[in-house]
């Protein structure tokens, strides 16, 4: 089997697959009789395909669950015109819940509610589950055995990430003093000082 053929097979597989394919999965496409290419040969073919699409509107990227072809960012606006419907926008509540699950996994709904200060609606959890962005990792061994949530491979895929560590860094705790100062007036501080002096 020629290199060109290996390349073509990998290309059609990636284009026909519904989800990204990793090197191992691509290797399974070649039966033993085909002089099965090793992982190095597969990686070389992927690199060649990546190079071949450099000038095109599609790009071959690696995400969490493998390689996929996608429309290059510069060409996305034209493709967007294909669909009359605008892509879904998610509420702040949903995004906050998702980011808490992403950064604090495994995490229970109660823990999310503690941080957000409001209850997490079931419909948000359902939507995230339906998108296959989150999943139940297990149950916390406390009364009620609440579900522990975590993110999925598809979450990483859909956000163009390979690993969880590639998420934007969580901001440091912000200007504690400033926040504190904002919260409590001069007046209050004077009162506190007066108390300290009195002690």
């Amino acid at each position: 089997m020629s290199q060109n053929e290996i390349r073509n097979i990998i290309e059609v597989a990636l284009l026909a697959a519904e989800a990204p394919l990793n090197v191992e999965r691509l290797q399974t496409l070649f039966a033993k009789g085909d002089l099965k290419p090793d992982t190095q040969a597969i990686r070389a073919a992927l690199a060649a395909l990546q190079e071949a699409s450099a000038e095109r509107g599609v790009e071959l990227v690696e995400v969490a669950s493998g390689f996929r072809y996608q429309v290059r960012a510069e060409y996305a606006p034209w493709v967007g015109r294909l669909w009359a419907e605008r892509p879904a926008r998610y509420s702040q509540a949903l995004l906050e819940t998702l980011s808490l699950i992403a950064y604090r996994q495994p995490v229970t709904r109660g823990e999310i509610e503690d941080i957000r200060g409001v209850s997490v609606s079931s419909s948000i959890v359902r939507t995230l589950m339906e998108r296959e962005w989150i999943r139940v990792l297990g149950h916390k061994e406390v009364p009620g055995r609440p579900a522990l949530y975590g993110t999925t491979r598809k979450f990483l895929d859909d956000f163009g990430l390979q690993r969880l560590e590639q998420l934007p860094a969580l901001a440091d705790v912000r200007d504690l003093d400033a926040l504190h100062a904002d919260l409590f007036s001069e007046q209050e501080r004077a009162l506190a000082n007066a108390q300290k002096e009195a002690e």
């Binding site: 996608q70 996305a76 702040q92 998702l98 409001v118 956000f159 934007p168 705790v173 007036s185 209050e188």
Partner: protein
């Protein structure tokens, strides 16, 4: 944030701040809350606009230069209690469908309002504790009552920011599009289950064990070599219909082979699967499929 700079913290500011908040009774509502008091007619809208009391408090601190001590806690508490009463009676009066909202949605609103109420109560507690003189000896246990609230606000703010960061990542279906090519000629490869020799012999032993439980049964088994030879003879007959007896025996198979072939032939005869024909005494013997 006494200077109240316009650009400051504009990232974390809810978008809604720049546009009319909502249309309440025909008039655009652009005024944002100046404190924790929310006009009853705008309650629902506020509950939607902010992600909860922490979010509202963060906003008030950053944008409105909130002075906690200036908040008339007693007044706010009274007003919140008023909402609670109002929503309860709304639910009771209108029953199931209130402005297209299901009772569940209303219950959710009710819950949200309660969360704001908890916040008001917390602020009231802080204020009261600040005003009371401290008992000197209990320094450690008597932590600054504001510390817990500040910690929660800070923690919440981190994730509020993280949510925005997450939303700004390129997302499939919004900023990136998947490509797909049909393969009209492709058929899913049918994969067969694997069966091991062990599975097979286990199944056989089970079948035999069961057969023996059926008391009337007497399973008789010939050696496999004989069964195999029987199968081979039948296969040959299927093609030729007529075999010469001597063709069954091959000298290079040795004595064992001859015995096996002979036993196979006997077994085939016994089961009436073949017939032996001899046209004349001492003539060649032929094997054929019996005619019925």
């Amino acid at each position: 944030m006494s200077n109240g700079g316009k650009n400051e913290g504009s990232n974390s500011q809810p978008e809604q701040a720049e546009m009319p908040f909502a249309i309440v009774q025909g008039a655009p509502l652009t005024e944002l809350p100046r404190d924790l008091y929310i006009p009853p007619e705008a309650l629902e809208i506020f509950l939607e606009a902010f992600e909860g009391p922490l979010d509202l408090l963060l906003y008030l601190i950053r944008r409105q230069n909130l002075d906690i001590l200036d908040i008339p806690i007693v007044e706010i508490t009274r007003q919140y209690m008023g909402y609670v009463d109002m929503m309860t009676s709304l639910l009771e009066q209108r029953g199931e469908a209130v402005e297209g909202l299901s009772p569940v949605v209303h219950a959710h609103r009710f819950e949200l309002a309660a969360e704001y109420l908890v916040m008001a109560a917390m602020l009231a507690e802080i204020k009261s504790r600040m005003l009371l003189p401290r008992v000197a000896a209990t320094d450690e246990a008597d932590e600054d009552p504001r510390a817990e609230l500040v910690r929660r606000l800070q923690e919440y703010e981190r994730y509020k920011q993280a949510a925005q960061d997450l939303d700004s990542l390129p997302r499939m279906g919004r900023d990136r599009y998947a490509v797909h090519v049909d393969a009209p000629d492709a058929r899913p490869l049918k994969r067969h289950p694997e069966v091991s020799l062990e599975d097979l012999s286990l199944a056989f032993s089970r079948a035999l064990a069961r057969a023996e439980q059926l008391a009337h049964h007497h399973v008789q088994l010939e050696p496999l070599s004989v069964r195999e030879r029987m199968a081979r003879v039948l296969e040959a007959l299927r093609q030729d219909h007529f075999l010469e007896f001597s063709s069954l025996f091959s000298p290079d198979e040795g004595r064992r082979g001859v015995v096996v072939s002979f036993l196979a032939l006997l077994e085939l005869l016994k089961e009436s699967l073949v017939e032996l024909v001899q046209a004349q005494p001492f003539g060649p013997i032929h094997i054929k499929v019996p005619k019925t």
